[in-house]
């Protein structure tokens, strides 16, 4: 079970790393000398390999190893960055993603096709490994890649000690290594230090200390947690041994004890070590205070005397094998080590369910708080009212920060399109550049996840149909390379995402003729359509204007799916286009899906909530009563279509006519509409309860909410009301014309 959790974490982090790697690869093409980027790519591959090794995912390790080796050569400037190499590495990235997905399916080995693909890419990559290079770097790199062939995280601990008869016990150095947490980030591999160390003598024994590794959930694969205790047969000087660790000496704890050192030195070493929870005897053995032979004999005696409860430490003291002072130091160490825990990382991974649960609870809290407020007001006790007001302010803050937890920047989603644009433009043979704006705009995580597919579709569409071929562009006096822009910003309580291109634009006539041909509209209605209506015809099911069907788009499925996906997020999408100048698709999405500020209005006996973000103003209705049957108001010279909510919802109104009706002007996108209501009841926080299956078909309503009084009220679906108001207006016009 724990392993599953760890695997989940590995998957999530692996995907993030691959994303980073991809982004870095895309940027390195234009900036091949940026060492930071090269290192970032290398580290990503390296980390994936290491973590995969931990889980025993050999197929991942083998494949990543080849990638890493190539990257290592790139890092060492032995292989130059080329378009081919980047393309190859990108396809390796994709393949890694496939392999990861395979891991997610929980099977032990990969399918034949994936394995074959691994081999294919490996072959291609190996070309870069074999190319000769200038300089002495070759030997080193070949060594390191050869050395790493068999390496996975746990191999190092049980390297067979090779006895060298020429060396005696007194040449046994003890080296205690604690690598600093940033060693891996700085591009250094602890293993290579140990391998280098082995060239100075013979590693008699090596103990890998994994105690510092936190549980997998908290583990950062880029952080180095390992330490080593090494006993080394060597005739080299202390300086030479120290020289091995020169590059990491600043950030790591390195203790080198000479073969003939005093016991006090060992005690000092035990005190300096950061480990905890280790068995005393093991500490001692690892410190090299004891040889294995001494420990073994101690163990044997323990077994033969049957006294298995006696700790090894004491046993050793009894046998006078170790000085009791050394043992005491180790005991003290075990007691105090807990106080020196490393500080927590600043990021926490939280289960999405837990967040949802929190937000649900906050929702309940708001409803309950509103109820308390009403009771307090009714009681008329001023101190009680005051305290509930403080409380509701706090609840509001809690709500905002709880909702904020779910907000993520859209930038990472946008950045994914760098790759899409690169691939597609190569496929199409067009030179297209992507510009991203407003990547730091935040929106709800669920929305971000669901918006990626529709966006991909729009982007591909723009590239395929929107941006013209190079000759056409030059002929039209535009730059040879096409531009695609992704833009995001906040507007009136919603987030707007724009996908625009500087292509040929949408040809109205072609759309109209196509729509008529496909029977989507009649010739008569075509004449009455505005430009916007015409552009938005592309979202109708079964519509496609591309003369040629490519494998990217043009099969007439898709744009309607795009619209459906966006509408399922309570958003809208519309097209805008300038002939010859370009096309823009504008997606408008609500910021959150759970809690909003609402404006409560009364119609007859019922109450409705309007999302406050969409309310522009409230005006008195009385002034315009004479123009009642035109379904239109004159708002400071502006034509404002309106809906009388009581008529719209057919609420029974037995002989009741409100004296003071009001018009609430609401806005969604570019359209405004007036809603005629009987009472304005002020704003309050609204927890959106979904309509549920039963009421999904109700027009004009987007959800329920519960007031502080416990009453259920309906939340108005402003976009659909605006839509209906337009149709109503159109119908009235027609009736007026036929009359």
């Amino acid at each position: 079970m724990d392993m599953d959790d760890a695997l989940q974490t590995f998957m999530a982090e692996g995907h993030e790393l691959l994303e980073d790697m991809e982004n870095a690869l895309l940027s390195i093409e234009s900036d091949p000398d940026n060492e930071d980027t090269i290192n970032a790519i290398f580290r990503a591959a390296h980390t994936i390999k290491g973590s995969a090794g931990l889980f025993g995912l050999n197929y991942l390790v083998t494949f990543t190893h080849v990638v890493e080796s190539v990257l290592d050569r790139v890092r060492a400037r032995e292989v130059a960055i080329s378009t081919d190499l980047v393309a190859l590495l990108l396809s390796s990235c994709d393949h890694l993603t496939d392999l990861m997905d395979w891991v997610a399916r929980g099977e032990d080995d990969v399918s034949d096709s994936l394995a074959r693909k691994s081999l294919g890419i490996e072959e291609n990559l190996k070309v870069f490994l074999d190319t000769p290079v200038a300089g002495a770097g070759e030997q080193v790199s070949a060594d390191s890649s050869a050395a790493e062939d068999g390496h996975s995280a746990d191999v190092d601990a049980d390297e067979p000690p090779v006895a060298e008869p020429a060396l005696t016990e007194k040449d046994l150095w003890h080296i205690s290594l604690r690598f600093g947490p940033d060693v891996l980030r700085h591009g250094m591999d602890p293993v290579s230090f140990i391998r280098y160390l082995a060239t100075l003598g013979t590693i008699h024994h090596i103990e890998t200390l994994l105690d510092a590794i936190p549980d997998a959930g908290n583990m950062d694969p880029e952080t180095c947690y390992t330490g080593f205790e090494i006993s080394l047969h060597s005739t080299q000087s202390k300086e030479a041994i120290e020289g091995v660790f020169e590059f990491v000496s600043e950030e790591s704890q390195i203790h080198i004890l000479a073969p003939d050192c005093l016991q006090e030195e060992y005690i000092r070493l035990i005190k300096a070590l950061p480990e905890e929870d280790m068995k005393l005897g093991e500490i001692l053995v690892r410190c090299g205070t004891l040889t294995h032979r001494e420990l073994e004999s101690a163990l044997q005696q323990q077994q033969s005397s049957g006294n298995s409860l006696q700790p090894i430490g004491e046993m050793l003291v009894e046998k006078n094998v170790v000085n009791s002072e050394v043992v005491n130091a180790a005991v003290r160490k075990q007691k105090t080590v807990k106080e020196a825990r490393p500080p927590e990382a600043s990021l926490i991974r939280v289960d999405a369910d837990k967040l949802d649960n929190l937000i649900n609870l906050v929702g309940e809290l708001i409803i309950a708080g509103a109820g308390t407020n009403i009771l307090a007001l009714r009681s008329g006790q001023s101190d009680l009212i005051e305290s509930t007001e403080t409380l509701s302010r706090l609840v509001e803050e809690v709500r905002d920060s709880a909702l904020n937890l779910r907000m993520v920047q859209i930038g990472s989603t946008f950045n994914r399109f760098q790759r899409v644009v690169r691939d597609v433009s190569q496929e199409l043979g067009k030179d297209i550049r992507l510009t991203i704006n407003g990547g730091d705009t935040e929106l709800d995580k669920t929305v971000v996840e669901k918006i990626a597919d529709p966006l991909t579709h729009l982007v591909r569409n723009s590239m395929d149909h929107g941006i013209e071929a190079e000759e056409v562009r030059l002929a039209a006096g535009k730059p040879a390379h096409g531009s695609l822009m992704l833009n995001a910003y906040h507007d009136a309580g919603s987030i707007v995402i724009e996908v625009s291109d500087d292509g040929g634009g949408i040809h109205k006539d072609r759309i109209l003729s196509k729509a008529i041909e496909k029977g989507l509209i009649s010739e008569n209605s075509a004449a009455a359509m505005t430009d916007k209506d015409i552009f938005n015809l592309v979202f109708e099911p079964g519509f496609s204007t591309a003369d040629q069907v490519s494998n990217l788009s043009g099969r007439g499925v898709g744009m309607d799916v795009v619209r459906r996906n966006i509408e399922s997020l309570r958003g809208t999408v519309e097209m805008d286009s300038q002939d010859g100048q370009g096309t823009m698709a504008r997606i408008r999405l609500p910021l959150t899906l759970a809690i909003i500020d609402g404006f409560l209005v009364g119609v007859n006996q019922s109450a409705y909530v309007i999302p406050l973000d969409m309310v522009v103003e409230c005006v008195e209705y009385g002034a315009w009563k004479e123009s009642d049957n035109s379904h239109c108001l004159n708002l400071r010279g502006e034509v404002l279509p309106y809906i009388r909510l009581s008529e719209y919802f057919e609420t029974q109104n037995p002989g009741h006519s409100s004296e003071r009706e009001s018009v609430v002007v609401v806005r969604f996108g570019d359209s405004k509409v007036g809603l005629v209501v009987d009472r304005l009841m002020g704003e309050f926080q609204t927890v959106i309860k979904p309509l549920g299956k039963l009421f999904n078909g109700v027009g004009g309503i987007s959800g329920f909410t519960i007031l502080g009084s416990g009453d259920v009220v309906l939340i108005l679906d402003i976009p659909s009301l605006i839509n209906d108001a337009g149709t109503l207006l159109y119908q009235t016009d027609r009736q007026a014309m036929t009359a």
Binding site: F695, G697, V712, L714
Partner: protein, 189 residues
Amino acid sequence: MAQAELKEAVTENDVTLSHQQYLTFMLGGETFAIGILAIKEIIEYGQLTEVPRMPDFIRGVINLRGAVVPVIDLKARFSNRLTEVARRTCIVIIEVQSGDDETQDIGILVDAVNEVLEIPQPDIEPPPSFGAAIESRFINGMGKVNDKFVIILDIAHILMIDEISQLAADHTESVSPLANNEGSDESSD
């Protein structure tokens, strides 16, 4: 195909009929019964919010401790006459399957609840093929209690979410102010 459906319906009936305990309640002067296993609770009729453009038998929604629960008027569903709210009017909250694994709570409006009683299997007659006040597909059987028959309702069938939401959608369509005049004929229901 038809046979398979029939078979499925029969086994479903068997399962429902094997509940030995039933809640009896009054609806328009007649006594009905439903198996108690589906019933979550019975609450007093309280503040109910109407949902516009819904067919009459969907009375509206109530707030059940923070959850929004739709309420269905059984009498209106059977006979197109609305239940009049009186002192003993109750809402019986029933859990129904609304998808593969999902359940939804639905309230049904009844004139009064009577009691929970046991009706042994031999006392339950198959539903009459005609002559009953309500459609026979809504009836699971006729239970004999004190020499009188009570109609045992097939509540899972009556509250089939898909069917109700389809009815609701059809109704919405027909009453929408956007629909052309010929569509707004309400008696089509």
